[in-house]
């Protein structure tokens, strides 16, 4: 029996900016050790040198191409908690709309990657086409496709443009219809079941013990969602459910994401219907009073935590980010013990890790 060290990545079709060091015996992976840090940009250190407002675009780039709106919300929450700032109601709704649209885009992207990991290229193209519809909507709302800097301290920067509501509702209807196709193509595909069911089973007890968050934790059957547990912005006003999985395998992790897309559509419909009139921004002083705050938001990949220590100047004394992918990363070596080599991409992609999110 001979064990081969196989270095997967950072230049590999599936790993992105990761490197996995695998111990391979034939076609069986005995151990996986992730090697991260290829996209480390030192954002936490950088943030200490920049003012709170200047930090906005930088922080957004922690998770830029997937979920920047959801990511930034936590930072703003923390600052507003320290300032004791009450954001106008309309701005809260707009923030939620941007975040939920971004969640849909992110989950569709996850579905694309997932089908690529199993080798089904058709389902790479279909959701990515439909993701473009959502990004178009976000462009109408914020002026940008992926990095918005839309939400700002004290509110949002632009109001909803004319005709946005009708356009959004139309596209949401289309997306809802389109999900049917995804179910037919991916989730009810027998070959896809063969590849993903009973692969990478994460038990609920293990998931909690390892500190896994977000859809991955919910797929294991643990009902944890910051939007319900401690509602921020206006999430307490919406009626939505938290989808959970049964088995905690790779298939469940994808299915939960699809169900979350449905819930997001649900939330968006309510938000677009209920959005009140009023100002969209409140003036905020550049100086944040002394203190510290820990806030959590439910970004697309899971709970995103921000810890800010403010020393009464314009710049944060310490900004700690606790991104979901970094916390989900620990599940990867846990799941990749004694699995076939062919399952490594499936397990890795099912956790929906984004290298930038892990490295910051």
């Amino acid at each position: 029996m001979s064990v081969m060290k196989l270095s997967m990545g950072p230049q590999h079709p599936i790993t992105g900016h990761f490197r996995f060091i695998l111990d391979v015996d034939g076609d069986l992976v005995l151990k996986l050790e992730p090697d991260i840090g290829y996209t480390h940009r030192g954002i936490e250190k950088l943030a200490e040198k920049r003012t709170y407002l200047q930090n906005l675009p930088v922080i957004e780039r922690v998770n830029s191409y997937c979920d920047s709106a959801g990511t930034m919300l936590g930072y703003l929450e923390a600052i507003e908690e320290l300032m004791g700032l009450e954001v106008p109601e309309r701005a809260k709704y707009l923030r939620v709309i941007a975040a939920e649209l971004n969640r849909i885009a992110s989950h569709l992207y996850a579905a694309c990657l997932f089908s690529v990991a199993t080798g089904l290229e058709t389902m790479l193209m279909w959701p990515i086409n439909d993701r473009e519809l959502v990004l178009d909507l976000l462009e109408k709302l914020t002026g940008q496709r992926i990095t918005y800097t839309y939400q700002t301290i004290g509110g949002v920067r632009f109001d909803m443009p004319e005709g946005f509501k009708e356009e959004a509702l139309k596209r949401l209807d289309y997306l809802e219809k389109r999900t049917e196709d995804y179910y037919k193509m991916l989730l009810w595909n027998h070959t896809f079941h063969m590849r993903t069911k009973k692969v990478g089973i994460l038990k609920p007890s293990d998931a909690i013990k390892l500190g896994v968050v977000g859809p991955n934790l919910r797929a294991s059957g643990v009902k944890v969602d910051v939007r319900k547990d401690e509602p921020y912005e206006v999430y307490d006003k919406f009626d939505f459910s938290i989808p959970t999985g049964k088995n905690g395998d790779s298939y469940d992790r994808l299915e939960v994401r699809f169900k979350e897309v449905e819930q997001s559509i649900n939330i968006l419909r309510q938000a677009l219907k209920d959005i009140p009139k009023g100002p969209i921004k409140k003036w905020a002083p550049p100086i944040v009073p002394k203190g510290e705050a820990y806030t959590r938001v439910e970004a697309a990949r899971g709970e995103f935590g921000y810890y800010i220590v403010a020393d009464g100047t314009m710049k944060p004394y310490r900004l700690k980010m606790s991104p979901p992918s970094f916390r989900n990363l620990i599940a990867l070596p846990h799941l990749c013990k004694n699995v076939p080599l062919g399952d490594i991409p499936v397990i890795y992609i099912s956790l929906d890790l984004i290298p930038m999110d892990v490295d910051r």
Binding site: D27, G119, L120
Partner: protein, 349 residues
């Protein structure tokens, strides 16, 4: 003894070797199928596919030629610690072996008796089977010679895959041989003149189609080449012309496989005589039907890439041994038990 050829026989041989079914045919087939595959899959995936290269506007008809020209301009990189002789010879071997099998396939009958094929032998089915079996060894050799980890894993997967599909192929060929009573492909086509074997042996057809998709490493069985797992499997290290040869050899193989299945199950050239083609040359009508059947099979095989995820190697072995082999054996048993009904249909003709 070297047979002395007359001038017309010589011209015919040159035609066969260089144009059809020899050199030009597999190349043209590869070119058209590569273009078709890209365009067809693009349509499935809601993309457009190749667009600009070629005569007709917005079709990208000459894209494969452009790709090939690009590839042959590239530098051939041989890894430092590769076993150079085997590494260099493997792509050439792969394309030669892949294109060899078309020499033994009868494409049409000639009006004066005999068949339009390069080399006639009464054991042509066995020869083709032997040629198919040779291909995985080239893969293993190339993977080993590259001296790269991903190549080695890909080569080992190719060898494992051989175990899964080779036995079902042989078993379902056995029931064909039982039914037709010969190893001669031309005779097998002749026996199908009244009824095609796909109707008499539907299970055998399905088994051989699935097994041949595995033989061709087409999705869902492209496990040795699985991009997401082993980069590109055994040909990972190849560049430039060598890579082009590897790619082309896959399509040569596709050509051989679709031809073989057409001959075995779809009645080869048999079909109503088309007067227009028959006027030009008597073999053309048969060739037309042959191409039509090949095209249908090619589309079916290509479609797998658009709608199926890839299987895992253990699942493929599982499918091969617990599903395909029993099915093939069942087909043999049915064939033997129902001899009294099919014998007058097949042998009597």
């Amino acid at each position: 003894m070297i047979p002395i050829l007359s001038f017309s026989e010589f011209i015919e041989l040159i035609l066969k070797v260089l144009i059809f079914p020899g050199l030009a045919f597999p190349l043209l087939f590869a070119m058209i199928v590569i273009w078709f595959e890209r365009k067809f899959l693009a349509r499935i995936m809601l993309r457009i596919g190749p667009l600009h290269v070629g005569p007709l506007n917005r079709t990208g008809l000459f894209q494969p030629i452009a790709d090939f020209l690009k590839l042959i301009q590239k530098e051939i990189i041989v890894p430092d610690n590769a076993y150079k002789f085997l590494y260099n010879i493997a792509p050439i071997m792969a394309s030669i072996v892949a294109s060899m099998s078309v020499a033994f396939i009868p494409y049409a009958p000639k009006p004066d008796g005999g068949y339009w094929m390069i080399y006639y032998t009464p054991l042509s089915l066995l020869v083709i089977l032997a040629i198919f079996t040779a291909r995985p060894f080239i893969m293993v050799g190339a993977g080993w010679a590259s001296n790269s980890k991903y190549c080695t894993i890909g080569a080992l997967r190719a060898a494992l895959q051989l175990l899964a599909y080779e036995v079902p192929i042989t078993l379902s060929l056995a029931s064909i041989v039982i039914m037709s009573g010969t190893f001669d492909l031309a005779k097998i086509v002749e026996t199908q003149s009244s009824i095609w074997f796909i109707i008499l042996q539907p299970i055998g057809f399905i088994v051989i189609l699935i097994a041949m998709m595995a033989e061709l490493s087409r999705r869902p069985f492209d496990i040795p080449l699985a991009e997401q797992e082993v980069v590109f499997g055994w040909p990972t290290e190849y560049t430039g012309t060598q890579f082009a040869l590897v790619m082309v050899s896959e399509y040569f193989d596709l050509c051989a496989v679709t031809s073989l299945i057409t001959v075995l199950f779809l009645g080869g050239w048999s079909g109503p005589v088309i007067p227009l083609l028959n006027d030009i040359s008597p073999i053309l009508s048969g060739v037309f039907w042959f191409f039509l059947k090949m095209a249908i099979l090619t589309v079916i095989i290509i479609m797998g890439r658009g709608i199926y995820p890839r299987l895992r190697i253990d699942q493929l072995l599982d499918t091969g041994w617990t599903l395909l082999i029993p099915l093939a054996i069942i087909q043999i048993i049915i064939t033997l038990l129902t001899a009294q009904w099919w014998l007058p249909l097949v042998r009597g003709a």
